[in-house]
Symmetry: D2
Subunit: 174 residues, 4 copies
């Protein structure tokens, strides 16, 4: 069965988006990349304000956001069923429960589950170098997003380039 969905799960500043762009470049077929950032751009400012960034880098989302996210997940799955190949770039703030929500939405589809690890201190340094993220998110999310999550493959960007990780992932796409 052909892989049509790649789910990249990792903390903020772990390098998921860079890996996604490299995957789009190295995979022979065209793949869409859709992520939680795509959804956040699409939601109204009022709901986005329901997303809270705590001083320690924690993030909590309101129930309004979760309802929109459920519909979003259903829609992304429908794009795949309609023939698109999709890289999903997400941070499972709810760990295993977040994975279950995607499992339900993607039911029946061939998914490659990829964990994107990065040492928390290194990710925090990259967050500082980027300069466009709330400070503390990288460190706070580094481990939390992987709790109880099952993967087909894990990559670690601490000492490996995004392109190298993308090639490892691409080799697993059937």
């Amino acid at each position: 069965m052909t892989t049509r969905v790649i789910v990249l799960n990792g903390g903020s500043s772990s390098g998921k988006s860079g890996i996604a762009r490299c995957l789009q470049a190295v995979l022979p077929e065209p793949w869409l990349t859709l992520g939680v950032d795509t959804l956040i751009d699409a939601i109204p400012a009022g709901v986005a304000e329901g997303i809270e960034f705590a001083p320690d880098g924690g993030v909590s989302v309101g129930s309004g956001f979760q309802r929109l996210e459920d519909a979003w997940m259903t829609g992304v799955a429908a794009m795949v069923r309609a023939g698109a190949r999709v890289v999903i770039d997400d941070a499972f703030l709810g760990g295993a429960a977040s994975q279950q929500r995607w499992r339900d939405a993607l039911n029946g589809l061939e998914v490659l589950w990829v964990g994107v690890r990065c040492d928390g201190a290194v990710a925090a340094g990259r967050e500082m170098a980027r300069g466009d993220r709330v400070a503390g998110m990288a460190e706070a999310q580094a481990d939390v997003v992987h709790r109880g999550v099952a993967y087909d493959l894990e990559v670690d960007t601490t000492e490996r380039e995004a392109l190298v990780c993308a090639r490892e992932i691409a080799a697993r796409v059937e």
Copy 2:
């Protein structure tokens, strides 16, 4: 029947995105805004390069883009069926044929079709003021995108503010 989809169709720099943001602010329920720009951000660079911007501001897209767009349309419709309210921000480069593609995807849903007009010369001036678009697109698309398209409502940003137009549209949402 409750309106769950608003389609805004207008040329580049006609003010669609501003109206969409105002709609999100003035409508009592949360609405997602998804547009052709969302899709273009999601596609791989190689397919994006298939989108050609002619010196006269014309835009042509390859068949690879159209296939991804079909899947995208199906997915956006699925989000609505799953409970989301969605503002679609698009430029119907194919006129009536583009509308038909959305009609097929949104089949059975209550849609408010809105034409966003703007005088070509005024839109060209706004394109210059924005400074982030290929020069000539505003003028080239001003009329073309409306050819043969049927609307429930038309607004004109030539002399009206985005917020005023958004309020007119919101008044028609049931």
Copy 3:
């Protein structure tokens, strides 16, 4: 004496940046545009955090910011003395006192002082349509930035396009 500096002063979302881009397009010589946003991008996050956005849209800056801004103003004036033509895009939060700081820096240079007016409610609507500014700044700054400021020319974007305003300004450049 040849005009080598145009200072555009107006509140947030009054349309200064759009006028500046149109000026660059309509003026026959190349002009640099440098604004308070250029400076804010250049300062470290720690100092930027000293800039406070009050819930009512007010903005206050710390003394650390003011010292950097003084050096910045001196440098911009030096660019002009070295032969560059410069459009300065600013919001005089201190009214006449802000103008005096620029007068001191630009001492001896031929400056065209331009007030960019926009009705507060209209600017607030445009702020909503842009979606990338702290809500309330447009309304809060609409009048304050003009207090006690003397102009060679005033333009009003409430009912006039940026390009039209730019042409009025360009006609005054000698």
Copy 4:
């Protein structure tokens, strides 16, 4: 004598901007970061179009750009003389000749010259991961920008994080 200017020179995607942001965070005093990207944002579209990106990643600039750049350099030096500390983030496309232009502008100031190296193939991979640069620039500039340039210190981002490089540089600031 106190260091008041740090010049970071390196090719596209070598990691200069990330190092600059980390320097702003780790250095105890506030430092401005001004780079060639700041200048490119400030110039009119017509002059920017004089900057040519060749298919092989090469970049050539017109004489109009060079004149504006000379005035810009003079102004940046004046900011330092007026009391600002400045990190200059540049790519010396002209090698030693580019350095000489900065030497002339910064005459009499205490400058820390830093070479930012990155293996060309690694930089090309990061360019792909960023997705917002013309492909080929990283590889084309990797060596060229260092030709004949003299440094106080060189850092290499091929296997070292931006924050680690920033700390090495900060240790040399007097």
